[in-house]
């Protein structure tokens, strides 16, 4: 592994794409999110990490309008996301994948990606029945684009396989292809490396970096510290629903509060423990 912390690229200093201010969400007695503020800038890979139960997925769900926050705002390209319905989020240009894969499992890989293009296409019932030229052209375009995207994530050879029969790694990549099909400005990945073996993770990392380089901003929730620290341009660490640390990976990694949250009190003082920080979290449960 690379010992050198990843240096942020110039693009990470782009203008803000998403600005979250003071987001709070409570479930009964549990304050899942408490006054969380951050911004994601155009062209970066933004990492969101934290111990289990820190509120990462809650934050994700607030951003994608599955939950309504008690307070705070989340502006995405000037649009307030918290007031939208879940299906309107993707229209604004924010696509997501799921921690526990949610593919359309009885459909083929190709169909999954074609469904991803639903909101960028428009033929309706009448067009479907009479199959006029506009509809036929749109269908052909949709299919061609779906194949292109499958190729892009590297699973074009399974285009006509049923999603549920794909290998775990391929399912993860299919989910990314499906999200990319919505033509997002921001692609939010919820633990894409969960359950992947090291070689699959390497391929995934290359894919995510390629997506960023091709102009899509990426938000990455991840448990794999190595992946996050090596790849992300900036990182937000959550704990107990609060922002613990926020900034460049190198700074976050050496923030005593982060080390304490992950390794316990006193660890910050123990120089021997520092190198492990990057990998220790792998053993933790995948669910939060």
């Amino acid at each position: 592994m690379s010992v050198l912390p990843h240096t942020p690229t110039a693009t990470a200093l782009g203008e803000p794409l998403l600005i979250a201010k003071g987001l709070s969400k409570r479930f009964g007695g549990l304050q899942a999110l408490n006054d969380v503020s951050f911004d994601i800038r155009k062209g970066e890979i933004f990492g969101l990490i934290g111990p289990n139960g820190a509120g990462k997925t809650t934050l994700f769900n607030v951003m994608t309008a599955l939950y309504i926050p008690e307070s705070g705002s989340c502006q995405f390209q000037g649009v307030e996301l918290t007031r939208l319905k879940p299906h309107e989020i993707a229209t604004q240009g924010l696509a997501r994948t799921f921690q526990n894969i949610r593919l359309f499992s009885a459909l083929t890989a190709l169909e999954n990606v074609m469904i991803g293009q639903h909101l960028r296409t428009k033929s309706g019932l009448w067009g479907a029945i009479v199959r006029n030229k506009a509809t036929r052209d749109e269908e052909a375009r949709t299919e061609a684009r779906a194949l292109e995207l499958l190729e892009y994530v590297g699973i074009a050879h399974v285009a006509n396989e049923v999603a549920s029969s794909l290998s775990y790694g391929d399912q993860r990549r299919l989910e990314i292809a499906r999200a990319l099909a919505t033509s997002p400005a921001l692609l939010a990945l919820d633990e894409p490396a969960a359950g992947m073996n090291p070689s699959e993770t390497v391929v995934l990392r290359a894919l995510i970096e390629k997506i960023r380089d091709d102009g899509t901003t990426v938000l990455l929730i991840e448990h794999d510290m190595k992946l996050v620290m090596n790849m992300c341009d900036r990182v937000l660490v959550l704990e107990y629903g609060q922002v613990l640390s926020y900034g460049l990976p190198h700074d976050v990694q050496h923030d005593p509060r982060v080390i304490e949250a992950y390794l316990g009190k006193g660890a910050a003082q123990d120089p021997l423990l520092h190198p492990e920080l990057e990998t220790e979290n792998k053993d933790e449960s995948r669910h939060d």
Partner: protein, 364 residues
């Protein structure tokens, strides 16, 4: 590389054309063959089977494509039937032509479908089944009780002497002789029904391979993921309810015109369940499977009825067991057997078969 839709469409081999031609010829001759060999009664049975095909295909849009379990589907059949009965019978002394009544019946049924869709948008599975079941019963009870204070539906007595399907002065219900060739009412209806069934099959297949059809399947597979992909699940579900219901409306109109009589008891829960059985038995979401399921479940019991009685008479010299009772028994046995041995249905789509098989392999 692959077996994609456009590839299949581009090449239509001669064999397919010949096959289609042969099937077409058989379908064209069927009522005469049947009338000559088995009697006119069988043409009526065939006509009802075609009505059930329409109903099963309509329900298949809701249950098979969009994955919304609907136990009150017969309500839309009732709406269509009563629309025809009220607008073309001596009951209100209205005798509107088919090109007014049929669109009204279809539109009313589709509206009823959307009206049912609204309150159940957020329900799934069991809850959805119970609400739709209730809806089906509400419609039937309405038909049963709307004879007072103002007599609209004539209550449990139903409405009779309903107009037959008429194009100008040419009535489908009357037998007549064309070019020295005698053609009966049921035979004429057969051609109308067959044409509509083919149209509906065509629409179903087109819909399935479309943007809307894929969105339905997305909602069926995973609603949350569908929303995350920007699919407005609300309008997509309403579209499924409306589209499915409109087929029920067509079937209802034809039922009323063919039968000449409608009463609330034709639209009970058992009918809803029978149609659902056709969809499930044939292969949910697979159009040929659903057609086969509907034909099988509507014709097979009639064949059975014609066998059970003579067999008992020769064996025991008398009819001991009522054929209807045996019918229901065998019906149940057939369903249980299908669920055990072919859970994907008798004729499932290739994709669904693969999915279930891959699931089995993984478990093993």
């Amino acid at each position: 590389m692959s077996h994609t839709l456009s590839n299949v469409k581009n090449r239509t081999p001669v064999k397919v054309w010949l096959g289609a031609f042969a099937i077409g010829a058989v379908l064209l001759m069927l009522p005469f063959l049947l009338g000559a060999t088995a009697g006119q009664g069988w043409i009526r049975i065939l006509n009802f089977a075609l009505l059930y095909v329409m109903l099963a295909l309509g329900l298949n849009i809701v249950v098979g494509f969009a994955g919304l379990l609907d136990l009150g589907y017969i309500a839309f059949y009732a709406v269509g039937a009563y629309a025809w009965a009220l607008l073309a019978s001596p009951h209100f002394d209205l005798h509107l032509p088919f090109w007014i009544v049929l669109p009204i019946g279809v539109a009313l049924a589709a509206m009823a479908g959307v009206a049912l869709g609204f309150p159940v948008l957020k329900l799934r599975g069991d809850y959805l089944a119970i609400v739709t079941l209730g809806f089906g019963e509400i419609i039937r009870i309405f038909m049963n009780n709307l004879d007072a204070p103002v007599n609209i539906t004539n209550g449990p007595q139903g409405i009779n002497r309903i107009d037959t399907f008429k194009v100008g002065e040419w009535a489908l219900g009357r037998p007549e002789t064309i070019l020295g060739f005698r053609i009966t009412g049921p035979e004429k209806y057969y051609y109308l029904l067959m044409a509509l069934v083919i149209l509906i099959i065509f629409i179903c297949i087109r819909l399935q391979n479309s943007r809307v059809g894929r969105a339905w399947e997305a909602v069926r597979e995973d609603e949350i993921a569908a929303k995350a992909m920007g699919i407005n699940t609300r309008s997509i579900k309403l579209m499924a309810f409306g589209m499915g219901a409109s087929f029920g409306g067509v079937a209802g109109c034809l039922f009323a015109s063919m039968q000449g009589f409608v009463s609330p008891e034709s639209f009970g829960l058992s009918e809803s369940i029978a149609i659902l059985c056709m969809v499930v038995l044939g292969g949910m979401g697979h159009v040929p499977g659903v057609v086969a399921g509907a034909l099988l479940l509507s014709i097979f019991p009639e064949i059975l009825r014609n066998i059970v009685v003579p067999v008992q008479q020769t064996l025991f010299g008398d009819v001991i067991v009522d054929p209807d009772a045996i019918r229901m028994l065998l019906f149940g046995v057939a369903l249980v057997a299908v669920m055990i041995f072919r859970p994907e249905g008798l004729w499932p789509s290739a994709v669904r078969k693969r999915e279930l098989n891959s699931g089995k392999e993984k478990q093993a």
